[in-house]
């Protein structure tokens, strides 16, 4: 659906986006992740044709965005960060205006605005000035604006920023519902959000892509080590340290604390192999009492921190 090749944007000497390549398939919900200032918004602005790239190409359905921007804007809906809208217009007037620009036929216009009002929960504020709306409602007006022409591609820049937890859940539900038929690209720096809504994530840092893939694969891949936690009773700490680190595959004992006669042990193991069986058998040969035993699954948080750390 969307092909991005060697996309670059320079501001003076600084490359805000530096030669990134990715592809987005039809019907995918792609999350663009990265710390603040990583180049997410710049990338999205180029995808929508608002900013012109310094170098590289963007093709949407094989159409070059630089040559036919209007064709592409017609099939694309965009919600900019923090939904900047005309403050002095009523919500209904604003949606009506967007419908006119998007060339919705006059006889379908009212029905379409009503549909969007239902979908985004805007009916109670339809006749209020946008300036008087709460942040959550403004965001929903922005979402309705983006979906006006039922576009094939939706681009959402931090769609849930500044919302309260209930509103976040609502907006995520809306995005998921839309994402069943549409291609959605959203940016966020909230990882749980990406985990909850996206099929695939692209992580960017300092304008470069540092990871690209579905979330489960990302969790397994990068970094290479994961942790196993054990709690033992009636065991001698030296013996435990010696026996466990001798177990085939274990990379080392990360920590070993004695808390009221209970030993809490953390082992580092390669994330490519499952060593839980081996460790269990080692413990079973002794007369230690096993109280707790679990492997820490790598969260997106850890992956993200490892990948976007300053080098």
């Amino acid at each position: 659906m969307i092909h991005v090749e060697n996309l670059t944007k320079n501001y003076g000497d600084i490359a805000a986006v530096d030669q990134i390549n990715f592809e987005i398939q039809k019907g995918e919900i792609l999350g663009l992740l990265g710390p603040n200032g990583a180049g997410k918004t710049t990338t999205l602005r180029m995808l929508t044709g608002f900013l012109r790239p310094s170098a590289g190409t963007i093709r949407v359905k094989e159409i070059d965005i630089d040559r036919h921007p209007i064709e592409i804007k017609k099939i694309m809906g965009y919600l900019p960060e923090s939904a900047p809208l005309y403050h002095d217009m009523l919500v209904f007037d604003y949606l009506n205006y967007v419908a006119d620009i998007r060339e919705i036929p006059p006889d379908r216009k009212r029905a379409r605005i009503r549909e969007l009002g239902d979908l985004c929960g805007l009916n109670p504020v339809m006749h209020m000035p946008i300036a008087e709306l709460s942040k959550g409602f403004k965001q929903r007006v922005g979402l309705a604006h983006a979906m006006m022409s039922d576009p094939e591609i939706l681009i959402l820049d931090e769609p849930t920023s500044g919302l309260d937890p209930n509103q976040i859940v609502e907006i995520r539900d809306i995005i998921k519902r839309i994402g069943k038929q549409k291609t959605v690209v959203l940016s966020t720096h909230i990882l749980s959000e990406a985990e909850a809504t996206c099929d695939r994530v692209v992580i960017i840092s300092h304008g470069k892509i540092v990871a690209d893939g579905d979330i489960d694969k990302l969790k397994q891949s990068a970094g290479g080590t994961s942790l196993i936690h054990l709690t033992l009773q009636r065991a001698d700490s030296d013996a435990v340290r010696q026996k466990l680190s001798a177990t085939a595959g274990v990379q080392g004992v990360v920590s070993l604390d004695d808390v009221d006669g209970q030993l809490r042990i953390t082992l580092s193991v390669p994330s490519t192999r499952d060593l839980r069986g081996e460790i269990y058998r080692t413990v079973k040969q002794t007369d230690w009492e096993l109280l707790e035993f679990y492997q820490e699954s790598r969260t997106l948080e850890t992956v993200f921190r490892e990948l976007t750390k300053e080098n």
């Binding site: 602005r45 012109r52 209007i70 804007k73 965009y78 002095d88 217009m89 967007v98 006119d100």
Partner: protein, 234 residues
Amino acid sequence: MRAVVPIFRKEFGTYFVSPIAYIVIAIFLLVTGWFFFSTFFILEQASLRNFFSMLPIIMAFVVPAVTMRLFAEELNVGSYETLLTLPVSFNDVILGKFAAAVAFIVAMLVPTLGYVVTVAVLGRLDWGPVIGGYLGAVLLGAAFSAIGLFASSLTRNQIVAFIIGMTICFALTLFERMLFFLPRAILGAVAYLGVDQHFQNISKGIVDTRDIIYFLSICFIGLYAAHLALEDKN
């Protein structure tokens, strides 16, 4: 190009939602009314020449106030991004806003027809200069709107946009009065650039294509400069 119409409608409507429109119209009528009627009964002439001769200077001050928000406000709020990611081109946006500003100036001129009626009742009015004067006023308003639109596209601060626009408009209005130090050979060519001469020609009732072309070219230059300024932003 179809997007011009909704943009025009929205911009024109927005003028009358905010108090700015009413304040600007009130100031314009107050100033023109005072200047016109303060000498009208002394001169005892049934003509509107006095009103029209003041118009370029008053417009140089009022029109940039009308156009200052057109782009500056959008750039400041960020709605510029929302607007340009809709299927519209720069031309749609610029022409829509320009048409809205010109329509607003026409709306501002409509109440001054009251002066015409007053004069026509009091004496025998020569209609040629009146019709010419209003044609000239609309052309002048359009030319200054194009300049104001360009000024507004340069900055996100409305006050700065107003001052830039006003400076250019004032310069175009007044500079032919400061040409006495120029050599005679180039005087004619330079004087041609000033607004006042062309406007006064039309408001005498002489509609010359040279004057119309002058105003249309100022419009074109202003709008094209606005186009370049906006294109440069991304």
